[in-house]
């Protein structure tokens, strides 16, 4: 059992830290009397009917993924450096090809414009269906008053060309809301 003691200790410490953080923020944070209208996004006095989809630029994911790729390269390069002599020529060739693979991926990213961070640049210039601003694509992203919850607007943008009826059948598969067309209907 001795060998597992450090692990147990680690678990206890981690839990304590997590719980402690919560307690601390509760204790140290500014207190105020909260109610629904107060925490609502619009202080207009009208409670929202549904949660808003948080808009989040997809570019941040790309940046994160690019980072991960190069991070991993470094993760591999470091032990290689340590074992350089033992691995000799084979290791060198191996690492060179690994670096080449990552480099090709990098070249692809550059050509796709993943690193063009200036304004006005759009990804997916190859996209077949142009994502145009239309009633479907923008306005209906926000629920209109009176729209039943089951007719939730699409999360994934329907091309303008597919348009009308399909929009009402869009779905948010993870969330418990709509019945997706992909399940069996009973």
């Amino acid at each position: 059992m001795d060998q597992f003691l450090p692990i147990l200790l680690m678990v206890v410490l981690a839990s304590a830290f997590a719980i402690g953080s919560f307690i601390a923020s509760k204790m140290l944070g500014p207190r105020s009397h909260l109610h629904a209208a107060k925490v609502g996004p619009y202080e207009s006095g009208i409670a929202p009917r549904r949660e808003l989809a948080a808009r989040f630029p997809v570019r941040f994911y790309l940046v994160a993924m690019i980072f991960v790729i190069f991070d991993i390269e470094v993760v591999f390069l470091y032990p290689f450096a340590v074992m350089f002599r033992q691995l000799s020529t084979f290791g060198l060739v191996e690492m060179a090809s690994f670096a080449a693979v990552v480099f090709i991926a990098f070249a692809y990213l550059v050509s796709e414009g993943a690193l063009d961070w200036g304004p006005g640049k759009r990804l997916g210039s190859r996209a077949g269906a142009p994502v145009t601003r239309s009633l479907n694509a923008t306005v209906r992203r926000v629920a209109r008053p009176g729209t039943p919850p089951s007719a939730r607007p699409p999360v994934l943008v329907e091309g303008a060309s597919t348009g009308s009826g399909a929009g009402a059948r869009g779905l948010d598969p993870v969330r418990a809301g709509a019945s997706g067309p992909h399940g069996e209907e009973g």
Binding site: P79, M83, Q86, L87, S88, F90, G91, A100, V101, I104, A105, A107, Y108, V110, S111, G124, S125, R126, A127, G128, A129, P154, V155, L156, V157, E158, G159, S161, T162, A166, R169, G170, L171, P173, V174, G180, P181, H182, G183, E184
Partner: protein
């Protein structure tokens, strides 16, 4: 526990009790790695192909040549096929060691066989994707890169000699497939498919890797040969960890092959994902999953055979039964084919359940023939559905026999093949797996397999029949409908030799409208009743809609793939070279 082993460097382990150094670091100081390079050629070809496509897409203008990416992918696939065959020749009668790359990979007949299979699937998949992506306006290098890396992962899974390599292959394959499933940008269902596949797939991967860890914990090895030699040398008093690990690994791989009850993802993903990719995925993911499962169960865990065979038995039975029954009530073609592929996986599991060399060869043959049938079928569905995958329901094939007789003929052969009708490779495949379990005295499983095939025959033939329905609206009088002589269709059982007029047998049609009376020609409305039997009222209306009016356009490459698939299905069904080839697989273990 035999003491801890520590990973010193990649593939180099040192046992802290015995001091034994194993793996890559055979001598202290310098590391000698023995690599049998011919074994790695498929990886170079597929991985190199993917990199070439990626690099060219970066340096060439955005739309270089139509078909360039597909062409490169087909070339890489052909290279894999050729190399698989070359490997097979080299392995024939030679005494090449079965493992290489520091015991991480097998270099054997089975690996070569599956390399050919994956190469074929890559060629066919790329060829049918070209026309589809062009039609959908999605053409680009990405799907081909993904397809090649997916095939790479599949070959890795089939060649893996240890759980780490297997997991590596599994992840390469899976991640590529997630992205391919979600590739149809302007179809919400495609995104949903990708997301569902990703989340459930990650769950399955986690289960798998946990199982591998448990097995490692119990045996101290991640290599199949290490596991099996440990289990041969040591009798475990408490093998709970090992058994638990085994179950988790089976579940992880069972997810990939879509065996009931780990199949839930597959209907949704098959329905949503781009059609040609589904055909490719159905062939490759299944074959790769089974290749991994075969190696793990037959090679690493033969000592637990008495425990895993009942598990596989249950999986096989559930898959065959539920796959067939659920396919029966589908009106969406792709969804129906998803359930059909679940039931097909059940047959492969039946072969695996035999746990013999004969069973392994039967599985290999089954998977090889299924590759052609399923890709051919999805190729046809892909061209029929029209732009935007507008029509996927059964009515899309309605009246195809008159609109496009060649396509209808091809579809008919492929449907008959999957139903396991004699003179097709599907029949021979079912025959060999059932023969394999019969050899083990498993009569009940053979019976289940045959009954399942009887049920499955119905929904395959339903597609065939709808193709011969007149393309008019369902309300039209029967006069214009095709009259089918009593000797065809599911009514064959009822046909008999009855005369066509008079006689008492022509008095009443079946009450349920399921089958018309024996011995008289079926009218159009009877036929409609037959083809929609078992469907709910709403689905019935959906299935009997008039077909789309657009002309079916079959791109040349797709037509070639369909032709090859059809010819192969018949060829492998009426002659035995393919079967003999599968039977010639020399296994690296004595089963």
């Amino acid at each position: 526990m035999s003491g801890g082993t520590y990973l010193v460097a990649a593939g180099c382990t040192i046992n802290d009790i015995t001091g034994k150094i194993s793996g890559l670091c055979t001598a202290k100081g310098s590391i000698h790695i023995s690599i049998n390079y011919p074994a790695l050629v498929p990886f170079f070809v597929l991985g190199g192909g993917a990199l070439v496509v990626l690099l060219l897409s970066a340096v060439l203008p955005k739309r270089p040549y139509r078909g360039l990416w597909a062409g490169l992918t087909v070339a890489a696939g052909v290279g894999t096929v050729v190399d698989g065959l070359v490997q097979w020749q080299q392995l024939n009668g030679s005494s090449v060691t079965p493992v290489t790359l520091g015991d991480q990979l097998f270099y054997d007949h089975m690996g070569a066989f599956f390399a050919v299979l994956f190469g074929v699937a890559t060629v066919a998949g790329a060829a049918i994707s070209d026309g589809y992506l062009e039609r959908e306006g999605l053409d680009g290098p990405e799907p081909y890169v993904l397809m090649l890396s997916c095939s790479l992962g599949a070959v890795l899974m089939a060649d893996a000699a240890g759980f780490v390599t297997l997991f590596l292959g599994l992840e390469i394959l899976s991640i590529s497939l997630y992205a391919m499933s979600a590739y149809h940008r302007w179809r919400a269902a495609s995104g949903e498919a990708g997301l569902k596949y990703l989340i459930l797939g990650s769950l399955a991967s986690a289960i798998f890797i946990y199982g591998a860890a448990l097995i490692y914990g119990a045996t101290g090895s991640l290599q199949y040969l290490g596991v099996v030699s440990f289990l041969a040398d040591n009798a475990l008093f408490q093998n709970g960890v090992l058994l638990g690990g085994m179950v988790l690994v089976i579940v992880g791989l069972g997810f990939k092959v879509a065996a009931v009850p780990f199949h839930f993802w597959s209907p949704d993903v098959y329905q949503g994902a781009p059609t040609p990719f589904v055909g490719y995925m159905a062939a490759v993911a299944k074959a790769a999953g089974f290749a991994g499962l075969l190696r793990v169960l037959m090679l690493a865990l033969p000592t637990l055979e008495s425990t895993w065979r009942p598990i596989i038995w249950v999986l096989a039975t559930l898959s065959v039964v539920f796959g067939s029954i659920l396919a029966l009530v589908q009106v969406d073609l792709k969804r129906m084919l998803a359930y059909s592929s679940i039931s097909q996986a059940g047959y492969v599991l039946i072969g695996l359940q035999a746990g013999t060399a004969q069973g392994v060869r039967a599985v290999a043959f089954y998977l090889f023939t299924y590759t052609f049938m399923v890709i051919g079928t999805f190729a046809i569905v892909g061209v029929l559905q029209g732009r935007g995958e507008a029509r996927n329901d059964l009515s899309a094939v309605r009246g195809l026999a008159s609109r496009s007789p060649w396509l209808a003929g091809a579809m008919l052969v492929l449907m008959l093949g999957q139903a396991g009708i004699p003179l097709t490779s599907g029949f021979l495949g079912k025959w060999v797996v059932i023969e394999a379990v019969l050899g083990q005295g498993q009569y009940e499983l053979a019976l289940i397999g045959m009954l399942g095939a009887a049920v499955a025959a119905f929904f395959y033939l339903r597609v065939a029949l709808i193709m011969f329905l007149a393309p008019e609206s369902p309300g039209a009088p029967a006069g214009g409908a095709v009259t089918l002589s009593a000797t065809g269709g599911p009514g064959a059982a009822t046909a008999g030799g009855g005369p066509s007029d008079g006689g008492p047998e022509s008095s009443e049609p079946g009450d349920s409208g399921w089958a018309a009376g024996a011995g008289r020609a079926y009218s159009g409305s009877d036929l409609q009743a037959i083809v929609t039997a078992g469907l709910s009222a709403r689905d019935r209306a959906l299935a009997l809609r008039p077909p789309p009016h657009t002309r079916v356009r079959v791109p040349a490459a797709t037509a070639a793939v369909i032709a090859v698939c059809v010819v192969f299905t018949v060829f492998a069904g009426v002659s035995t070279p393919v079967l003999s080839w599968a039977h010639a697989i020399a296994l690296p273990w004595s089963a």
